[in-house]
């Protein structure tokens, strides 16, 4: 494929280093190659010893892999972060308002802004949530908003690629990557004013506590994990530990007297807020998948009675689906009366005949995604695909057009990265984590993922992506 010209985070095309990378580049040029190689080995060793690994899903032998960590940080200047932060707050506020609306009056449908069938035909819409009130009207307590930067050398602009409102993961890597950089290169933190991120678990706990059922003064918060063979188990354990709350599995909880309890060595203890890292379908075998051994029988009825809080709420998937994504800018205007600060990527909805015919005519230039897909599976990256791949995808698209959306292939920005041949640019994205409770809060930065294969635009760890520390420079 022809390499696309893309925005390089560190350098201009002229070779000049961008101002916010200046200090780092000077430092990097002074580091001997062997030192950096040694530091990379050290990082690997520590990650393995600490067990910062992710289990390969479905592999019960417990095979664990490291997510490759790259030593060169992704740096964001203060004014850019300010804009991102304002935009993220605005977007997440609107998404929460949308969720409340969908499960109550549905004003946005009545106003004709979003077609009703977009909601009712969505598998993530949960009719059992209709009319159910949740504390503070917050549905997505934790949102991971995937951002990319595209555009040319001068005006690289940020776009929201995807909203993750179900169980977004990756925040533990953001925290561990920072810890690692500080351990390997403490001098960099003396030279640069880098916004800290280590207080994320405190913000998270505060948000979760503030979302407790009304009248509960000192809520008991737990993290619910599917168990140690889940690919994100490390993160579940990490967050529970950092917040100082119990990490529970479904079998540790039970429902009695219209309340949720956990089994402790001193008898049953009432639970008020469940930060669940389990998909909706697995939460309650009585209500959803009855083959799920991961959930808690009877949980849904306690939840609907408002006697326990789930974070995120049940049914948030209706707002982060790729078929709803094109409407988010309209939501912002509808609920907040504001202009959207963050751009959406122009999106063709293949369910519309005119969009479909455009997409079919331009497949080699477009990225086509499954509406309900995640994790980089089931998508077509036109410019990186063979003719045969495109044709087989075309057949799937024609057979089920409502299952797909398409977007122009963005020239994702790139950041210098250690690769076998030395340092070379690789494409990156950014997932900031936005917390909603009493306030909307976030730590500066997020998780930067990097596609390690040359030219690749797929940053997912399941597809060979790595991660970087993300620095927001303070003013």
């Amino acid at each position: 494929m022809v390499p696309m010209r893309s925005y390089n985070e560190m350098q201009r095309e002229s070779g000049d280093v961008r101002a916010h990378y200046d200090r780092f580049c000077q430092w990097l040029s002074r580091q001997p190659g062997e030192t950096m190689a040694r530091k990379r080995a050290e990082a690997d060793l520590v990650f393995r010893r600490v067990g910062i690994t992710f289990a390969v899903d479905g592999d019960l032998s417990g095979t664990e892999r490291l997510i490759p960590f790259d030593l060169i940080p992704r740096i964001i200047p203060p004014d850019e972060w300010q804009m991102l932060q304002n935009g993220l707050r605005q977007r997440v506020k609107a998404l929460n308002m949308f969720l409340h609306d969908v499960y109550h009056q549905q004003n946005i449908i009545r106003a004709g802004v979003i077609p009703a069938e977009q909601i009712y035909t969505n598998a993530q819409y949960r009719p059992e949530m209709q009319g159910v009130d949740v504390p503070r009207d917050i549905y997505a307590h934790i949102a991971g908003i995937d951002m990319v930067r595209a555009g040319d050398d001068e005006s690289g602009a940020f776009y929201v690629l995807e909203d993750n409102l179900r169980v977004p993961s990756g925040v533990s890597y953001m925290l561990e990557n920072r810890k690692m950089t500080m351990r390997l290169f403490p001098e960099l933190f003396v030279q640069n004013r880098i916004a800290p991120v280590a207080h994320y678990p405190d913000l998270l706990l505060e948000s979760l506590r503030s979302a407790a059922p009304p009248g509960v003064d000192n809520p008991t918060v737990v993290v619910l994990t599917p168990g140690m063979y889940n690919s994100a188990y490390f993160e579940h354990a990490f967050l529970a530990q950092q917040m100082g709350v119990e990490l529970v599995e479904g079998k540790d909880l039970f429902v009695d007297d219209n309340s949720v309890f956990m089994r402790t060595t001193h008898g049953p203890q009432r639970v008020d807020v469940i930060y669940r890292r389990l998909d909706d379908d697995f939460l309650d075998p009585l209500a959803f998948r009855n083959d799920s051994a991961l959930g808690v029988p009877g949980l849904l009825s306690v939840y609907r009675a408002g006697r326990v809080v789930l974070a995120n709420a049940l049914g948030t998937g209706v707002a982060d689906d790729k078929s709803i994504y094109p409407f988010v800018p309209d939501m912002i205007q509808f609920y907040l009366g504001e202009q959207p600060i963050l751009n959406n990527v122009p999106t063709y909805q293949c369910r519309k005949p005119e969009d479909l015919s455009y997409v079919l005519a331009h497949l080699p230039e477009l990225v086509v995604k499954e509406v309900h897909g995640a994790g980089g599976y089931g998508m077509l990256v036109g410019p990186a695909s063979t003719k045969a791949e495109i044709e087989s995808f075309r057949a799937r698209l024609i057979a089920r057009p409502h299952g797909y959306i398409a977007q122009p292939t963005l020239a994702l920005s790139s950041c210098p990265t250690f690769v076998e041949s030395g340092i070379a640019p690789r494409h990156i994205d950014l997932r900031p984590f936005v917390l909603s409770g009493k306030n909307v809060s976030m730590v500066a930065g997020g998780l930067t993922r990097v596609a390690l294969r040359e030219g690749s635009l797929v940053v997912n760890s399941s597809q060979g992506g790595g991660t970087k520390d993300t620095w927001v420079i303070e003013k």
Binding site: R49, G51, G227, T264, P268
Partner: protein, 319 residues
């Protein structure tokens, strides 16, 4: 704390202790083989090692010849034998991983890196090249994991469950070692008027002491020749001897007391009875009824106590 968490901590500690005791036992057996021995004696000591863990049938089922190499492989590096050091360290690590958020970072890293490094040492073939140093290493890592836990963990229920697992397992393991070794000695009584038999006898008992780090302690306590009665006395009834049955029961009772809940009365009483019997026992009396009989009922009661701990703390009735 969460019952499941307590369960994992309890078993993490038990498996680590079991790995250590297996290494201790094998280390001593290996050292004994450095002395001149008849083929018959060799075979006997290998069988004794297998019997300690009740593994003789499982081993013989494999149809492999009874050699030092095959027994070592079976008890150290065989992933198919759930009672190998390999499986113990793996189980300790899996239990730790399930509750890694409850452990201190240092404690988790110790258990995790023990497992990772152990698999590496096996790959490097250390078991064939220098088994003694491998056993030393396992012992050392077990000491380290206990020390790191004691030195870093907040002393709350999580810590007490971990300690409870260690002591209960140790009571079991020391009793097993004593039982098998003494049965072994009874089966082949030595004629102590013969000086070579005397020498053999000396090495036999000193090796048992070494296997529980008690040889120096024996010398300090008795300042006298090594006799089987005193070995029993030291390893069963001396509460200052850290691997003795009484010391282990002290540890069990102390931790149970700290873990007391509304349901734990019976559990504490059983442990207390077992301890009191040791506390007021005397050796001639025990020997009169037969050591084997005594230890057999002791092991059964330790096993029963383990079940009771599970019922009391780990599988609480719903509401």
């Amino acid at each position: 704390m969460l019952s499941r968490t307590a369960d994992h901590l309890f078993w993490m500690a038990r498996y680590m202790e079991r790995a250590e005791n297996t290494a201790r036992m094998l280390d001593v057996t290996m050292q004994a083989r450095l002395l001149p021995q008849s083929h018959n004696q060799e075979n006997r000591s290998l069988r004794a090692v297998l019997r300690i863990s009740e593994l003789e049938p499982a081993f013989l089922e494999r149809g492999e010849p009874l050699t030092q190499e095959s027994v070592l492989r079976f008890l150290v590096s065989d992933p198919r034998n759930p009672s190998s050091i390999y499986c113990f360290l793996q189980a300790a690590r899996e239990n730790a991983r399930a509750v890694r958020g409850t452990l201190t970072t240092e404690a988790w890293e110790t258990v995790n890196s023990t497992w990772l490094k152990f698999t590496q040492l096996l790959k490097d073939d250390l078991l064939a090249i220098d088994p003694g140093s491998l056993f030393e290493w396992v012992k050392y890592r077990s000491h380290l994991s206990r020390g790191v836990t004691t030195g870093t963990a907040y002393h709350d229920d999580a810590y007490f469950f971990t300690r409870l697992g260690t002591f209960l397992e140790r009571a079991d393991n020391t009793a097993r070692i004593l039982d098998v070794r003494f049965l072994d000695a009874e089966r082949e009584p030595r004629d102590l008027s013969d000086s070579s038999a005397q020498l053999e006898d000396f090495y036999y008992w000193t090796s048992i002491l070494s296997s529980v780090s008690a040889l120096e302690i024996y010398r300090k306590v008795y300042r006298d020749v090594v006799t089987s009665d005193r070995v029993i006395d030291l390893l069963m009834l001396n509460r200052s001897m850290p691997r003795s049955l009484l010391a282990a029961l002290d540890g069990v009772c102390d931790n149970l007391k700290k873990l007391r809940n509304d349901y734990s009365h019976d559990c504490e009483r059983e442990a207390g009875k077992l301890r009191a019997e040791l506390q007021y026992a005397d050796i001639p009396q025990i020997l009169e009824g037969g050591l084997h009989a005594y230890l057999t009922q002791f092991l059964a009661r330790v096993y029963e106590l383990g079940n009771r701990v599970s019922e009391t703390f780990l599988l609480l009735p719903v509401a």
